[in-house]
Subunit: 465 residues, 2 copies
């Protein structure tokens, strides 16, 4: 009976009007995004008029100019470019590879150089090839069996992981460190199975690192399509003596000047509390970078536009940051955090969208339990939009350098099933982004930003209280 009474009191004391007001604001955000969103038009331009935007490229600069111009047109309080030096790696002429079963009998396979790789010798590299299931196999084989050969990393992504990002995490060490590690055993080159759950003919690039390997000892590394990997593996099983040939003439140049693109709406009440929403403006060069991360860029831009267009005036400063060079350096994210620190800026919330423009399922939060519990209290407001996933976990690479104990970091979590079909490959293109799915993502982000602004994070409440 007492419990019942308590429940009644709690019900009565719930800020009912406020709740209903939140429902209305969020409904208005979704309605506007789905009927009059700008994200899809912006993405169309980024993808189809500009295209792949690798750091240091002409297209990356065009993307800076275009998005700054679009932010300028939104009537924000301030739009600016934040200078950052970025690496410039260029793929060169298309890569070429084949399996040589015996002299004169060859089968071409689709490959692409990994980002940051060195070139092969001018005439290409031909050598015996040895398949491994991961870096840990190298030690077992030893120098004797590896020296002079091309190492073929063929551990596939685990299809039983429901989150494809978990499957990616379980494999990507082969791509990132495979060349540096194989080089220690005298390998002449590295071929890595593409980070893709599907069997197809697209090789998927992505960043790799030579660690502290001296320049003269670096060996070339390329990704092979999943179908190519299956063919190579089968051929190797039949005849371990086959040779593999590949040729690539990619090159690392000196760092060049580039920019993060930033726009903000000044907070009406707490202008020194900054809420950041962002994605990364650079992309790989093979496709047009629509999912990775054109989608996150245009969604983040539209968050500010949607909030403004709905007549909501944020109490805290709302900033959109389009980061440069997430893919092969994270220079933009690091520079942004460095400048923020030097200016003693107070970031209370940062949200990144960098997991594709697919149907949003929820958010992942990197924050204290206290802040996470506050967010869980808002879950019901998202149910009408089929947003169910509120989990603790990572946020986004670009906002990671801002991390403090009290900052709430978050990442949009779209449905991940198709992400790695397109990720870093030639088929990461505009036609694979669905307008509604993209717009639902923007609205979902804007709704969370609205709630964070209205109620503040635990940190911002403490400052006030």
């Amino acid at each position: 009976m007492r419990t019942l009474l308590l429940a009644t009191i709690l019900l009565v004391s719930t800020p009912f009007f406020s709740q209903s007001d939140d429902e209305k604001q969020i409904r208005a955000i979704y309605d506007l995004s789905l009927t009059n969103g700008k994200a899809y038009d912006w993405l169309n331009h980024l993808s189809n008029q500009i295209g792949g935007r690798l750091s240091g490229s002409v297209q990356a600069q065009q993307a800076v100019d275009y998005t700054k111009g679009q932010l300028d047109s939104l009537g924000l309080d301030r739009v600016w470019l934040q200078p950052v030096m970025v690496p410039k790696w260029v793929r060169g002429t298309p890569e070429f590879a084949y399996i040589e079963t015996k002299p004169g009998l060859t089968t071409n396979v689709p490959i692409c150089a990994l980002g940051g790789s060195v070139a092969t010798p001018e005439g290409g590299l031909k050598a015996n090839i040895i398949e491994v299931q991961g870096i840990e196999d190298l030690e077992k084989l030893g120098k004797e069996k590896i020296a002079g050969k091309i190492v073929f990393y063929n551990r596939p992504m685990d299809p039983t992981q429901i989150s494809t990002f978990s499957a990616y995490s379980g494999c990507v060490d082969q791509r990132y460190s495979g060349a540096a590690e194989a080089g220690k055993y005298g390998a002449s080159g590295v071929i890595v199975r593409s980070m893709n759950l599907r069997l197809d003919n697209y090789p998927h690039t992505g960043s790799m690192s030579y660690g502290d390997t001296p320049v003269s000892s670096r060996i070339p590394a390329a990704a092979i399509s999943t179908k190519g990997a299956e063919l190579l593996s089968t051929t190797l099983t039949l005849n371990p003596e086959i040779k593999f040939y590949f040729k690539q003439n990619c090159k690392q140049f000196n760092d060049v000047q580039s920019y993060n693109v930033i726009g903000e709406i000044k907070g009406s009440t707490y202008p020194n509390e900054i809420m950041l929403v962002g994605g990364h403006l650079d992309s790989w060069d093979l496709g047009d970078g629509s999912h990775d991360d054109g989608a996150g860029v245009v969604q983040s831009m539209d968050v500010l536009r949607l909030i403004k267009a709905n007549g909501y005036k944020p109490k805290r400063t709302l900033r959109v940051v389009l980061f440069m060079n997430e893919e092969n350096g994270l220079r933009g994210g690091n520079k942004y955090a460095e400048v923020a620190k030097s200016k003693n800026e107070n970031h209370v919330f940062a949200l990144e969208s960098d997991a594709g423009g697919f149907t949003p399922r929820g958010f992942s939060f990197d924050c204290t339990d206290e802040n996470f519990n506050q967010v869980l209290g808002w879950k019901k407001l998202f149910e009408p939009y089929l947003i169910h996933m509120f989990i603790k976990g990572g946020s986004g690479a670009d906002i990671g350098p801002l991390k403090t104990d009290e900052l709430v970091l978050a990442g949009l979590r779209p449905d991940s099933q198709r992400y790695f079909d397109h990720h870093h490959a030639e088929n990461d293109t505009f036609e694979h982004v669905n307008k509604r799915e993209l717009e639902l993502g923007a609205a979902t982000m804007a709704s969370l930003v609205y709630l964070m602004d209205k109620y503040g994070t635990i940190q911002s409440k403490k400052i006030k209280g």
Copy 2:
């Protein structure tokens, strides 16, 4: 303190071992589906070797033969064909249409005849055209303004509906009854905006009915692509006197013999309690029917295979039913229910997949609160697979005729955002189905079937108890 004690007791008294067993069974189902699913291969054959399977067509018969053969190969206890007479409507040669701004100045637009429509006169139909936003506009306009003209139904699907099926429900009366209603006002033909949220060039067909309109008074009806509808509407605004021309020579033939395809695993303990899982084998003729409903067919088939392959022996009889003629008649669903009734069969659970092969989000249940509450108790078991949606609502058209007060009817609910991009159109094709998404759907269905079998529905418990 007491509360804490109670919580401890509750924890201890929870059937922990049993729960853990369910978790293992469901994990095994998902693992098998994602690593060794058959659904995608079957769909490949249905879509790419057979193609569109309109009732009464050669392809529909090929689909019957193929799926029966595949079920035969699974080692089920019984596989059979259930005869059913189905309508045979044939599209004929490709439709053709244009907007005539003035004599000699024409713009072609993409159209397709609605399923069940009559042909235009042999030379086509040319008339003035009048745009309406729905059937309710006809009365306002009256015979005077409609007689002799083509009525153009142009109410778009509402983009602010998060469920695209809700948006579809709000529009489809134009397609289904538009011709019968406009005919009453003397219209000469009907053009309907395609049921599609996206702007593109694909016209979407679908069933329509003339109701009790005498054959001699039936007017031809076609769907126009959404881009075509936009162009037509704009052109009409500029000049209401334009003419519209269209030509189609579709035809209704006499009913022909066809079949539902059925397979079953006999229940080990309660063989007279039937659990049904199914989809519809027929499709429209423009695409290859991969999402509608090839996906549901192959998922349903794989439910039995997955359960069997995992070594689980159902206590109740598990039956897969591949219904014929959902699209333009529902004859298969009606026949199945009629036979079930005549044999006094006891169906306790029926699950249909007919909403596309997209990432599964959950289920919709048509059942008593008592049964629904039992299902809600299983929700946690689905969380690792990102299945969150357990709602009351409709189930599936084919299983609807089985409805009784105590039967649990359910429909798989995949993500709906892209469904109407493809529904009933030329681009409902295999390449738009993602293998993992399809397999996740099959596993989600099989998991629910497993739980229903293990715990029984409230009805089956009452029979036993």
